[in-house]
Symmetry: C2
């Protein structure tokens, strides 16, 4: 069975760029050649695991026309740091990188964020192509131009809005992704469905088995629909001054949980999953969602192995939701003391709310503890 | 004698912003209040020397409406570093900075570049006001949105184009500036005159005495005209894809010299001054400038204590211009091996040239050795 040709979706931001869904790694070179006449030098920033699997396929299309160098970054969230940025800079200069060098970020969200931030600041900004290889990166982090590194004082504290020149998404790279990593992406995809695609939500419900089997055509449809939600939202609001905030659905709760657990024993997907359930309960309390809908969300998450309660993932229960509430206070999306929360409004719609009281938020936490 | 009210010049870049020439430190608070309704918290980034002189005047207008914190950075070029950026981040978060915090860069170009880069990346960008207090910062570095830090491998290697919300220039701060620092700014101002304001060049020639005496009205005119050249050029080409490159007149030579001397024993102004002379000789060789014009440039620089030959500043002569030529190779403005040089075309005009041979460049170096 031959798969259809790739699909091109446009992010219509301040500086527009195309997202190629279902493109092939081997064909990127040809695309670059047709788009950028003045590129001679390419830096591929990636990690050793991803390189082992995909560097050869990507390189194949590049070597004819370009001088190509690899910059390797070990795997792991801790690599998103100023120290690593500094090392990338040293290495890039050693390879003769200049303002006309083009950066390819080949990997998951960590590589995308780090290489993207590097590209945004190196000599005040050089060209960037995102080549996402995790589900999370394909449906979420490669789209929208947010790039960042972490700081001891917080995640993604230093960064920029730096649109790539293109996002080059090859679905076949997902075949090698461990299921735990798949889950991180599924949590975001289900979030996208909740925010504005009830059809996608139903698709998840009916195609459970094929998705778990990683049926290529079903995956293609899911990733395409989920990416498209992200493309649509960031096109409407690149700089997160309005609608883009909806993408934080589940994340204020999730981040608080991840922080409390020091990012150990809970994956990002698990945090988001529990966060989605907490937000759903809060929405129910606010009259935005029926209990039946809350249950439908929980059922779907559970089907894909995602938790709906903290006890499902950790033995030592967090007994006092007060500390989680405190942690939400520190969220960088807050505005002068008021908590800003995203709530689902039925399935397939979400709203920004500044009206939730601390008591209501505590109640929501209690539903997932 | 009362000075005229301030003058407002607009940088008409992608994101336009006003430059207030001759504004008063005390009045900034009122201006911010009229412009930014959602600012509650202000971070003033400055150094202890500048703070001692001007913090009180600036603060006076701010304390009524805002929560104000100071972040102090020791003086010196080495402070433009990723390490300092990281420390500023820690301190800012400790003071409760968030996305709505506004940064004021109070100081010379070092503070402007560092605080500007901090503002450009902190939580993906927060608002920035430049309050330049050196001549160089007033006529040059505060205008145009370039911000950066240095890296062990080179100056200004990591940075961004990040336009401030406004530039607030109080001429009276220049009264306390040591003459050596004045010279750095004069070199850039004379460069501006050479690039596109022959009238300003003549003004320098005729007002030498009043400028040296720092006559307020004459200074006001000089700083205003020189700043306006910069405003005009960056308005035409914010991202340095064309005309803005003209501002590098004298800098390719100057940087090579500064690098060769390890930034010791030569100030930036001296480097630029010698660079301007070298570029003038090269222009003469190319038939773009008469020898009389070259001499006129030299005479003007000398009048203000700026050197026109390397021997004027260092005892150990650099005997082999070849090493300086090599250093120009590394300039980040070069394009794939070809040296791009800015040459004066008469006085009051400049051109971008890719046609200079290494032999011609060596000849130019020999004229200033
Ligand atoms: N910029 C944004 O808008 C945005 C949005 C969401 C998340 N993020 C960021 O994304 C990061 C998380 O990204 P992630 O979930 O992709 O994690 P990740 O980048 O750490 O990748 C997870 C693991 O999968 C491996 N891997 C990658 N591709 C593979 C493949 N095709 N086959 C086998 N293994 C593969 C990697 O080596 C890594 O160990 C976080 O730092 C988060 O802050 C950014
Ligand atoms: N962003 C740009 O477009 C641009 C352009 C040119 C230069 N620069 C950068 O600017 C920097 C140089 O700036 P600079 O020449 O202003 O040097 P600087 O910032 O180091 O200031 C020079 C000294 O003057 C002192 N000072 C500042 N204001 C004073 C005042 N009013 N009275 C008394 N002392 C005062 C400072 O404490 C400092 O010691 C370099 O890092 C250079 O890379 C940037």
């Amino acid at each position: 069975m031959s798969l259809p040709e790739y699909q091109k979706v446009e992010v219509t931001a301040n500086i527009p760029y195309p997202v190629f869904l279902g493109a092939q790694l081997e064909a990127l070179g040809e695309y670059l050649h047709s788009q950028f006449q003045d590129v001679e030098h390419i830096l591929i920033i990636t990690n050793p695991q991803v390189a082992k699997l995909y560097a050869e396929r990507l390189q194949k299309g590049l070597l004819v026309d370009y001088r190509v160098n690899f910059l390797f970054v070990p795997a792991g969230e801790t690599e998103k740091s100023l120290e690593r940025l500094s090392q990338l800079t040293t290495a890039a200069l050693r390879f003769g990188a200049d303002r006309h060098t083009l950066v390819i970020a080949l990997g998951g969200g960590v590589i995308g964020d780090l290489a993207g931030f590097f590209a945004s600041v190196f000599m005040r900004g050089i060209r960037l192509i995102q080549v996402p290889t995790t589900l999370l990166a394909q449906v979420d982090s490669s789209i929208g131009g947010k790039v960042a590194v972490n700081h001891p004082a917080g995640k993604n504290i230093l960064g920029a809005f730096y649109p790539p020149r293109a996002v080059w998404t090859d679905f076949t790279t997902l075949e090698s992704l461990p299921w735990e990593e798949v889950e991180n992406g599924l949590a975001e995809s289900i979030k996208h469905a909740l925010i504005e695609d009830s059809g996608l939500f139903e698709f998840f419900e009916t195609e459970e088995e094929s998705l778990k089997r990683r049926d290529p055509l079903i995956w293609r449809e899911m990733v395409t629909r989920s990416s498209t939600v992200k493309v649509r939202i960031v096109s409407q609001d690149e700089r997160e001054q309005g609608r883009r905030a909806l993408l934080n659905l589940g994340h204020s709760f999730g981040h608080a949980l991840e922080t409390e657990m020091n990012y150990r024993g809970v994956t990002h997907g698990q945090g988001v999953s529990i966060g989605l359930v907490a937000a759903a309960h809060l929405a129910n309390a606010k009259g935005l969602m029926t209990m039946a809908e809350v249950d439908r969300i929980k059922r779907l998450l559970n089907k894909f192995g995602l938790p709906t309660k903290i006890t499902e993932i950790v033995e030592t229960t967090i007994k006092d939701p007060q500390v989680l509430l405190q942690l939400m206070q520190a969220d960088k999306k807050n505005q002068g003391g008021r908590k800003i929360l995203i709530l689902p409004h039925g399935i397939g719609r979400a709203v920004i709310s500044k009206e939730c009281t601390d008591a209501e938020i505590l109640d929501a936490w209690n539903q997932v503890i």
